[in-house]
Amino acid sequence: MNAPWKRDGSANVPAGLPPPLEAIRDIVRRVVEHLPVQPPSFVLARVLDQMLLPRLPADAREALSRRIVELQITDLGIRVRLQLEARGFCVASVQGEPALRILAPAASYLRLLRGEDDADRLFFERALIMEGDTELGLVLKNTLDALGPLFGTRNTQSM
């Protein structure tokens, strides 16, 4: 697959940073996209082991089990590939098509993880793109929605 963050006219790129920051972003992206996938994947796997795995319902755990999920942070050029194993989240092989690929700029991921935005809205606006197993994507989306923010929590109990 071509790097989807390259604006070649046909690429499938969600909107990212505002124009004044595009130049900086392009420099960062050009550097980052040549870095190996494993380090950010390893870091994210450890974060998810701490923040997501203990709260992950059994049905979602089963649906995600041994399926490769690739996340691309399109404006930064970061790509991570993860796979859920019995012992927790692991770095997935760099080879082969993932079961699910999600492409979005950093801001979209942050807003979703903080419970501030709606994945369908981002999808309508192409600020979030999903490829592959749509059902797996919905399991992931609905599970994260039900869990609430993984950080920056707004306390619903006070309502």
């Binding site: 499938n12 059902e135 309502m159």
Partner: protein
């Protein structure tokens, strides 16, 4: 148009909001919903998506949360029972009663009959899926099954809604906002031609397992069970991958052959709906995220309070429409069938 007055004050319609998860329920109640509607994790409701909806423990907690804050919980049991066995639907009724749901939203007469015989005290709302568009049909359900509210399909004009409200002996609920479906709810089997499943039987228009998005030279293709239903240019907004909202080549022209992706928004006619005597306004979107539920609920809470509380001073605030526009499917709004100037 004068507002409906009972006991000296305008009757404020109930704001009924969607909750696809316990968190969405909490957000809706916190943002001012009078009632939330929910479903179980199975095909007994029309939003049967993986990871969505409530198990018994979540439903119990949700009911307790809502009741503690003065809100009601309505349970959608609005698909049609499978001829191979109605037990899952009957069990869902029993579960709703056991968990303390305030009413059931039902479509199937077998389910209604079971409710009447086994739980005669249970409040029943006629689902939009039952597709009752006339007061005669609604009266049939009231007389035979004791339904106390009917949700009208989104195919009636404002004057037709007024006619039904005037003659019906039950409360009338209408849709206020959300993705639009023009297929006369309850009568649509379109998706079953491609996927073998329809919203009225399996609870889904487009089963996620049948949906594929593919990046090609021509654009991003949306396929349903292998059938090409749309192809989007790189910068083109997208919609839900349902057959009814696909674009097809028809007689040499490519376009929306059945309906365009769009969202219903009735903020502009809210005073008229209140004046007609509509008892509840429903927000669509159990499949949407809690962020949608919270923000849309907040807008409608403010709008209903203002429309019911002000004597002719209501106007749609730009910030309300701006918020709703952000969440609209197709990025634009319509009054749908309520307004048919061409008629």
């Amino acid at each position: 148009m004068s507002a409906v007055v009972e006991g000296g004050s305008v009757v404020k319609p109930e704001l009924v909001c969607p909750a696809g998860s316990l968190r969405a329920l909490q957000m809706a109640v916190g943002a001012g919903a009078d009632a939330v509607y929910v479903g179980l994790k199975d095909a007994t409701n029309a939003r049967n998506f993986a990871g969505l909806n409530f198990d018994d423990a979540q439903l119990r907690e949700g009911v307790a949360f809502a009741h503690a804050r003065g809100a009601r919980v309505l349970m959608a049991l609005n698909t049609f029972a499978d001829a191979r066995g109605v037990d899952p639907w009957y069990r869902a009724v029993d579960t709703a009663v056991a968990m303390g749901a305030d009413a059931l939203i039902v479509a199937d007469t077998a389910v209604m009959a079971y409710c009447r015989s086994h739980h005669p005290q249970l409040r029943l709302h006629l689902s939009v899926q039952a597709s009752a568009t006339s007061y005669e049909a609604i009266e049939f359900y009231r007389r035979h099954y004791g339904i106390q509210r009917a949700v009208l399909p989104r195919v009636l004009t404002l004057s037709q809604v007024a006619h039904v409200v005037r003659l019906s002996m039950v409360d009338i609920e209408v849709f206020g906002f959300g993705s639009l479906c023009v297929m006369v709810e309850g009568r649509c089997a379109l998706s079953s031609y491609v996927t073998g499943q329809s919203p009225n039987t399996a609870g889904v228009c487009s089963p996620p397992s049948a949906v594929r998005w593919q990046d090609t030279r021509a654009g991003v293709e949306a396929r349903l069970n292998g059938v090409l239903i749309d192809c989007y240019a790189p910068d083109e907004p997208r919609g839900y991958p349902t057959l009814c909202k696909g674009r097809f080549d028809v007689e040499g022209r490519r376009g929306y052959a059945i309906e365009e992706p769009t969202s219903l928004n009735t903020l502009a006619i809210l005073p008229e709906l209140i004046a007609l005597g509509v008892k509840a306004i429903k927000i669509e979107g159990r499949q949407r995220s809690p962020a949608y539920v919270e923000q849309v609920t907040r807008v409608w809470r403010a709008a209903i309070d203002e429309a019911a509380g002000s004597a002719g001073g209501y106007s749609v605030r730009p910030e309300w429409n701006a918020t709703l526009m952000r969440f609209a499917e197709g990025q634009h709004h319509t009054l749908g069938a309520y307004d048919r100037p061409w008629r």
